[in-house]
Amino acid sequence: MLLKQLTEAMGPSGFEDEVRNLLREQLSDKVDHMYTDVLGNLFAEKHSDKTGPRVMLDAHMDEVGMMIVHAEDNGLLRFRPLGGIDPRVLVSKPVRIGSEKRYGVIGSKPIHLQTMEERKKPLRMDQLYIDIGAQSKDEALAHIQLGDVAVFATEYAEIGERAAKAKSFDDRVGCSIVAEAMERQWQIPVTGVFTVQEEIGLRGATAAAYRINPDIAIAVEGTVCFDVVDAPSHGQSTVLGKGPALTVQDGQTLADARFLEFLIATAEKHNIPWQLRRVKGGSNDFGAIHKVREGIVGGAISVPVRYIHAPAQIISLDDYQASLQLVCAAITEIQEGRWNA
C-alpha cells in the first residue's frame, strides 16, 4: 500500500531520497516523463502534448525530523530539529536514524528521581538525547555520522473507525493523492510535482513552480486538525471525517476567492464533502507558488491530520478518499472548461 510505504519512509527536509525513490518507482510507467531538478524536486509530467490549461499538482515529500549534531563522551547523541517539533512530543519516543535506520530512543529521567517541580516543566530540546545503546563517543560515531537524520519510528496501521495512524501524514497523504491522480488519464497537460523542504520554508515549491510556470496550481497538503475534547470550535482548524479542507487565509496565503468558489462549486456538484480550514496559522506550498513569477492562480486542498508534527498522527480514510475525489473533480472541471479566470 503506497500510503503505508510513504509514511514509513524516511524523509526529513533536505533528505527526501527514500520518498522520492518510492514515488519514482510508483509512477515511472504511468506518466510520460519524469525528472528531478537541482533541489531534488521530482516532476512527473503527463499529456504535455495536449492543449488546454497546464495544471500543477503539488505535494511536499519532506517531513519534520531531527539531525544528529554531536556525540557525548557517554555515547548519547545530541540532536536538533529539522522543521517545527514541539520537544514535549519527543519524550519517551523511539526514532530511526540514518540510512541503516538504526533504532534510537529518547528517554527521560525516571519519575522516581524527579522533584515535583521538575515534573511540571517540559523538557527542553537541549535536555533530550538519543540513545542508540553506545557506551562511548567512539562507539557511537562508529555507527552514526554527525549530520545523519532521524525520524519517528511509528508504523502505519488502520485503527478505530475508517481511520489510520502513522508518522508524517503531513504530507505523505498529499504525495499519495497526487500520485493516484497522476495515474489517471487526463485531457489536459498535468504535472505532479513532489517538492522538497516545505517544512523549513516552502523552499522546493518556490523553484519548482518557477520551472513549471503552470496556469493553475493545486497544493495537496495534510493540515492541522484539533477537533478534540475541550478544544473550542475556533481553535479546531478542521474536523476529522468532514472532508477536504479549503484555505481561506493562512500564514502565507489569502485564498484567491474565485478559485475557492470554483473548488466549493466543484465539491457540491460532485457530492464531495468539504470544509473550510478555520485557523490563520500554518501554511503550505501554495503560499510560495502563488507568488512565483508574475503570480500563479490556484489553491490548496488539505486532508485534516490530528496530532500533526507529532510521532503518531491520525487521518480519516474517508477524508483521504474525498480529497482525492476533489482533486480529480477539479481537474475534470478544468479540462471541461469550467474554470475561467
Partner: protein, 357 residues
C-alpha cells in the same frame, strides 16, 4: 544436520514485553510466565491474588531450605475515568507515570475489544509560547481511539484499563528497549537462574514467583511470601541506570552486571552470600545502596509473618517508567547465574545462622 539449540529466554522476554498486563490484570503475562516455568517444573500454582508460583525441589531428604525468587510481572498502567465528549478518554494511573512521557504516546485500551489509541497533543501551529512552557498534568491528557463517541461508549467503560503500546527494539551492545522492562526483565532473570541451576546440585527448594500488583504497593509480594513462608526471599527488580542529571549513587551502568542491594531492608548475610557468590563465579556486580525500605517486593518480604531474610538484586535500566526503558540481556544472564550460584550455596546450617546476630 542437527544443531544443538541454545536455550535462551530472550524470546520469552520479548513476548512478555510486548504483552499487556497492569496491576490487577496480569493474566496474559501470568500465562507466558507459567508456560516458561513449566519447562523447569510441573509444580506451578496460582494464589488468590494471581501470583504465579513454581516450585523446583532441591535434593535430599528431611527439611530443605526454602528460597523464594520473586519478580513482579505487572507494568504501570492507566485506567479510564471518563468517556468524554467526542469519545475521548480521560484516565488516571495505576502506578507512577510522568505525564510528560505520555504526550503523543500510542496505547492499547482494553475495552470490550482491544483498541489502538493515541494520547493527544496540540500541534505547534496552534500553541502559544506560554502553552509550550507548561507540562500538562495527567488529568488534562486524553486518549483518541479514532471512532465516533457512540461506538466508544459501547466498547469502553469507566474502569477499562490502558497500557502502553511499544514494539521492542534492539539497540547496540545487546541492549533492548521498550516498555515493561520494569519488571519483566526480572522474570527473565528467574528463568535464566532456573536454567543455570540445572548444572548444580542444590539442597534448597526454589520457589520461583511472578508477583502481581507491585506497582501499586507490593501487594502480590505480601500474600505470596505469607503463603510460602520461605527462609530467604530475594526480590529481583530493576534499578536506575545512569543518565545525565542523576545522582552518582542512582546511576548504575548497563552491561556491568547485576546490582546487588545493601541496606536495612536487606539481610546482611544474604547480601554477603550474594557478594561471595559473585566473587567466586567472577560475575561482575554493582553495589546498590539503600537507606530504608526499598521500592520493591523486598519491602514486603522482610516483615511477612515473623520476618523473612530478604535480598534484592536486579539489572540497571535507563528511563524507568517510560515506554523506552533500556537494558541489557547480558546483565539478565549474569543476574540469573549469580542467583543460581547463591541458591546452590544455601544449606540448612546457613538458614539457621540467619537469626544469629
Amino acid at each position: 544436520m542437527s544443531v544443538a539449540t541454545v536455550e535462551n529466554h530472550l524470546e520469552t522476554l520479548k513476548s512478555m514485553l510486548q504483552g499487556h498486563g497492569g496491576p490487577g490484570f496480569e493474566q496474559d503475562i501470568a500465562g507466558i510466565a507459567e508456560s516458561a516455568f513449566r519447562t523447569y517444573t510441573p509444580d506451578v500454582q496460582r494464589d488468590t491474588l494471581g501470583n504465579v508460583i513454581a516450585t523446583v525441589s532441591g535434593e535430599g531428604a528431611g527439611v530443605r531450605p526454602r528460597v523464594m525468587l520473586s519478580a513482579h510481572m505487572d507494568e504501570i498502567a492507566l485506567v479510564v475515568t471518563k468517556v468524554d465528549k467526542g469519545g475521548f478518554l480521560r484516565v488516571w494511573q495505576s502506578g507512577g507515570f510522568d505525564a510528560r512521557t505520555l504526550v503523543g504516546q500510542e496505547v492499547i485500551v482494553h475495552g470490550h475489544e482491544q483498541l489502538h489509541g493515541i494520547v493527544g497533543s496540540k500541534p505547534p501551529h496552534l500553541t502559544t509560547p506560554e502553552e509550550r512552557s507548561q507540562a500538562a498534568p495527567l488529568t488534562d491528557l486524553f486518549i483518541d481511539v479514532a471512532m465516533p463517541e457512540d461506538r466508544v461508549r459501547k466498547l469502553v467503560d469507566v474502569g477499562s484499563r490502558v497500557t502502553l503500546y511499544r514494539q521492542t527494539m534492539d539497540l547496540l551492545n545487546d541492549r533492548i528497549s521498550g516498555k515493561a522492562l520494569d519488571n519483566r526483565t526480572s522474570v527473565a532473570v528467574i528463568l535464566e537462574c532456573l536454567k543455570a541451576l540445572k548444572s548444580y546440585h542444590h539442597s534448597a527448594d526454589v520457589l520461583a514467583v511472578a508477583t502481581v500488583q507491585e506497582e501499586v504497593g507490593v501487594r502480590g509480594a505480601q500474600t505470596a511470601a505469607y503463603g510460602l513462608r520461605p527462609d530467604i526471599a530475594i526480590a529481583i527488580d530493576v534499578t536506575f541506570a545512569d543518565m545525565p542529571g542523576q545522582a552518582p549513587d542512582e546511576s548504575y551502568k548497563i552491561g556491568k552486571g547485576p546490582a546487588v542491594c545493601f541496606g536495612p531492608n536487606i539481610h546482611p548475610k544474604v547480601f554477603k552470600g550474594l557478594q561471595a557468590t559473585a566473587t567466586q563465579l567472577r560475575i561482575p556486580y554493582q553495589l546498590e545502596l539503600s537507606q530504608g525500605p526499598t521500592g520493591t517486593d523486598a519491602r514486603a518480604f522482610q516483615i511477612t509473618q515473623s520476618g523473612i531474610a530478604s535480598g534484592l538484586v536486579g539489572i540497571a535500566i535507563r528511563y524507568m517508567h517510560t515506554s523506552v526503558e533500556t537494558g541489557s540481556y547480558n546483565d539478565i544472564v549474569d543476574c540469573g547465574r549469580l542467583l543460581a550460584g547463591y541458591v546452590a550455596s544455601i544449606n540448612q546450617a546457613s538458614v539457621e545462622e540467619l537469626s544469629c546476630y
